[in-house]
Amino acid sequence: MTIEKKISGFVITVAKYFSLLFFSFWSVVPVASCVVTAFKTDKEYEQTKVLDMPASWLNFGNFKQAWHQADMGLGFRNTCIILFFVLIGSIMTGSMLAYVLSRFKFPGNSLIRTLFLFAALLPGVAMQVSTYQIMYNLHFINHLYGYIIMMMGTDVISIYIFIQFFENISQSLDESAIIDGASYFTVFFKILLPLLKPAIITVLVLKGVGTYNEYYAANLYLQNKAILRTVSTSLYAFVGPLGSQYNLICAGVLMSILPALLVFILCQKQVYGGMTMGSVKG
């Protein structure tokens, strides 16, 4: 190896790590500054500079106060209920639909696929203008079940993840089971569904994080926040009178991020995998 090559290799390595550090820094700083602030007392918050470290890292006072003020306990309870039903619902409907679409040839199969793909093109916020009227007519507004059913809706990404997975399971498996006298129901529930476990976990994580973070429809359809707040809409409590009490707000914000972060740390592989699988479809 010539000296020139060594030098250019060294420069590239330095540039590489510098860019990684630089962009990681910008990714972390906005949240890290929240962490710093959340541990400051009111007095500290007013008197110290924003990025000065708090006097004590054990000052959980803001977290307690934010938890009560935004009634985040209620938010977490509602979000858990929503997550439970939305996840079960969309995994069942998604996998069943994918099973039918990938295993049966029938007229309209490709039309249905196209219908789902086109649905993904329609921008969500725009659709809510008229969805609101439908939710109103169905008496779905201000009921958890209404929001749950709407959120179960059509999740093209999970359907495609399931379809891809079915396509990788050999069809001869179903066929031999059918020949042995199993019904299609048995094939689906007893044979294919257990094999689908990795895809189910991927969808669980993706859809779970998506549902957990959803705030627009939750704000629109669960207006009675006294009893129907979710984790993300509970943060609305900090808009207005508390607008500049950032040590409190940061504590609330961090508590709302933490669960999604934990899931990510525990299931990194599924999150990345799901990202890649889902987005190819767009």
């Binding site: 860019s19 990684l20 990681s24 910008w26 990714s27 972390v28 906005p30 500054s33 929240c34 602030t37 500079k49 924003v50 990025l51 409907t93 069943m96 639909l97 039918v100 049966f104 029938f106 249905i112 789902f116 093109l121 329609l122 921008p123 916020v125 725009a126 659709m127 809510q128 203008v129 008229s130 009227q133 439908i134 059913i149 709407m150 809706g153 495609y160 891809q164 990788n168 299609y184 689906f188 973070n213 705030y215 627009y216 993300s232 943060l235 950032y246 707000i249 940061c250 914000v253 709302s256 991020i257 972060l261 990510f264 990194q268 990345y272 990202m275 890649t276 987005s279 190819v280 767009g282």
Partner: protein, 329 residues
Amino acid sequence: MTGEKEHRGIRHWIHSGKGQKIIVVVLFMLVPMLLLFTFTYLPFAEMIKFSFYRMKYIGVREWVGLQNYIDVFKRNDCFGALKNSLYYMGGALVQLVLSLYLATILSFKVKGGNAFKGLIFFPFLVNGIALGFIFKFFYTRGFVLDTILHFVGFKLDNLPYWLKDQRINNISLVFTSVWKYCGQNMVLFIGAIMSVDGEMYEAARLDGASRFQQFLYIILPNIKTIVVLNVILSITGSISAFEPAYVIGGPGTATYFVVMDKVAHVSQKVGLASAMAVVLLIIILFTTMLQKLFFKYLFGDADLDDKTYAEKRRERSLVRYRRFHRHDN
């Protein structure tokens, strides 16, 4: 007598392979199709219908023909808001280049690669409302950003008000969107780069290709499809940009969707909002088609959209399947 015979016939049909197939197909698709219809295509049809009425969610409706569409083009706040999309398009471009760059670095052996990947990705998991608060705090005069810039030598007096100054506040908002989605894009590209045959890099390296050449001649052509898809998605996404302007806001930052949201849910001019939605949808569909044509022309790649990955994979598995059976016989 005949009734019983018919009954037996139905039973027989249910237990026959064909009957069971039809039952499974219908039963398994019932709920998803119902949901798809109720929450996508029904609102879609209603939206088009509403756009011809002057109406609120409750109360009388008055047919006004194309008046709502005329208003969309006439009102300053409606169509004018689309120019803010240009900022988001610029942001999307920056994001694309940045995420490709980071993905290329992280696709190869890097010390602490996983940690970097995680750190750059995790903003994607921050919920919208939290993102709003985080960046209001971040951008406030004299707070996080100003402190950091002061630390590296900027004078506070020379720094603008990031969220109030109309010369810069749209850019500040776009940055929050880049912050959130850059890592997600990067992960996507890493996935694509990893799926390229590793031997190709090895061969190129042995041939003495520089890293930039490797990127240009091996990585980029191989992940072309996903890059193009991403460009199309991000341009469509910029036209319908919503989150930063909705959760953070500021003077002169309202995007088209933010205006539409207000028109629909605050002023309750449902007809006008529906017309806005329809107009935007047409713009989106039009630009999507235009871009697809453009990229087809550019790459001469008719394969791009006609054959999705899934279809290709299905073909491959079909070939495998046939081979397997031939072997069997």
